[in-house]
């Protein structure tokens, strides 16, 4: 899968100073073009990321093949497709969520979104029974889960976000506690569940990077595409929202409607990634913040693409290292959580100094 984003990048030829105070006028916001004008720094970033992406893809596909191409290639390609889908879903949902909550250390995961997905899936089995569930096509089941998840997430988080008057403090705290609540409720259902139902749930629900649910690849990819298209259509509004709720309203943004749309998309994307590989807490945090650091801009078109690239690179390279260096002895999720978490601490310390 080629990096689709490359096509939307219109590289500008005239070089513009990025942050020189008295530099020549920077005209990239020129709205007559719907393009994707970049500062020289961002161009360098994108070129580097594209090269890294290519390198990690080649590495992943060819490492230790030992001539078994006909076996390795299809299997590894399928893995790559899954990693790309998960990577883009996580990066996109996190960047959107950051803007939605005016905060850069939250991810949908920390705020309980994937816990909610697991809860919804569990509750479904809990109420319908595993015998019935077993007869349903996994795709239909996934669709049902996703639809339920989108409904619940939007209702709950819209209520939490309220009209925004509750204050960010409350919002975040509620989200974190809600995450624990969802997890506890899920555990609670597990404990009261028939052991047979529990087993069937474990196998269908808890996908991981080592056991990617490939039956959902194509529908997952389709939903991802739909989500990404919606997000890119909403980019101007995201930019305005980045100024904060009050300014956005002052500038005529229909806040409630925009937030509802964005929450729906976030819920959709979280459903996709959780269904494919299970919950991953720190990937979004890592890739989104790396992207912001690299691009140094508020523009969502740039940040979304950069975060997506970083995310795919992290997953593909991480999986390659895991399989070949660590001998499969570990999970990509935990490696990324460690790296992402340490990066986060470093980021805090760095910001503390400035």
């Amino acid at each position: 899968m080629p990096p689709r984003e490359e096509h939307t990048i219109v590289l500008e030829t005239e070089a513009e100073p990025a942050s020189e105070p008295d530099g020549a006028r920077q005209d990239y916001a020129g709205g007559e073009r719907s393009g994707f004008a970049l500062t020289p720094r961002q161009k360098r970033v994108f070129v580097t990321l594209a090269l890294l992406l290519a390198a990690s893809l080649v590495l992943f596909l060819t490492w230790d093949v030992n001539g078994h191409w006909d076996f390795a290639l299809p299997r590894r390609s399928e893995q790559i497709v899954a990693l790309v889908i998960v990577g883009l879903a996580v990066s996109t949902s996190t960047v959107v969520f950051h803007t939605l909550t005016a905060n850069r250390i939250l991810t949908p995961s920390i705020m309980g979104f994937d816990a909610l997905y697991v809860l919804v899936a569990t509750a479904l089995v809990f109420m319908v029974g595993s015998a019935t569930v077993a007869q349903i096509d996994p795709l239909v089941m996934f669709g049902l889960n996703t639809a339920l998840m989108m409904g619940c997430a939007t209702a709950i988080y819209q209520w939490i976000l309220g009209s925004g008057e509750r204050g960010l403090y409350t919002l975040i705290l509620v989200g974190v506690v809600a995450g624990t609540f969802f997890t506890s409720l899920t555990n609670f259902m597990f404990r009261t569940m028939d052991p047979n139902e529990f087993d069937s749930l474990m196998t269908t629900l808890f996908a991981s990077f080592n056991a990617i649910d490939t039956t959902l690849l194509w529908i997952g990819g389709g939903l991802l595409l739909a989500g990404v298209v919606v997000v890119f259509r909403l980019v101007p509004r995201l930019d305005v929202l980045g100024l904060g709720r009050e300014r956005a309203i002052t500038l005529g943004l229909d806040y409630r409607k925009t937030v509802t749309w964005l929450l729906l998309v976030v819920a959709l994307l979280v459903s996709v990634s959780t269904a494919l590989v299970g919950p991953i807490t720190f990937l979004g945090l890592l890739v989104a913040n790396l992207a912001y650091q690299l691009t140094q801009t508020h523009r969502h078109s740039v940040n979304l693409v950069a975060a997506g690239l970083v995310s795919i690179i992290a997953l593909v390279a991480g999986q390659a290292v895991l399989e070949h260096v660590l001998d499969h002895n570990g999970t990509l999720g935990s490696i990324i959580n460690v790296v992402g978490g340490l990066y986060f601490i470093g980021l805090l310390l760095k910001e503390a100094r400035s």
Binding site: Q26, G31, A102, V240, G244, E246, I249, T250, L251, G252
Partner: protein, 252 residues
Amino acid sequence: MITIDALTKAYDETVVVDHVNLQLPDSGVTSLIGPNGAGKSTLLSMVSRILGADAGSVSVEGVDVFKAPSKQVARKLSILRQDAHTTARITVRELVEFGRYPHSHGRLTADCHAAVAEALTYCDLEDLAERPIHQLSGGQRQRAYVAMVLAQDTRYVLLDEPLNNLDMVHATGLMQLLRRLADEKGKSIVLVLHDVNYASVYSDRIIAMRNGAVVHDGPPEAVITDHALGDVYGMEFSVHTLGGDRIAAYFR
């Protein structure tokens, strides 16, 4: 004209704005004064639909701010709030360009570029245009936000305590700028002020609030008096005329 009709806001049991009826003019500088907790900022937030009202209505030139599409309202009035500093990494020019959003929705037209350039010039920001706003001083940043509001090009410009955190040089500079906006561009500036003397010197009309209600309303001659100010703040004032301006002393 902005018409405020029986506007009310309460938190729990405390009524912050209590059935306020007001008409704000379509030009000139109007200042809201009053002690902390009088409801000035809350009133302004509701007028600009950032805060929902518990009762009452606000209409701008016949458009109901709570019911009309947000975009329509955004072409008529804008507000600048004291605390809303953005965390986005953004240059002054980009910030000012956001002011065009209600008109262009992210795709700037030639008109937009002209309006942005004019706003930057007007606020004396051309040299700072490409600087990220977080590198600016307080006064410069406040000017950048004013420029953004200017680019939005609304008839009504609301400002909530714009002089906070500004030293007297920048405070006076900003007040002069706002006065010019009213005089040269015929805008209606409505602002919350803590310094009664800035209100006195720069306003056409002063509205004094206390406990969620309007208690005095009129030109500076009527409101900046020993009696009226004493009534609003519950302390003693002595108003003097200095070079044609009414200046209140309240330090003893």
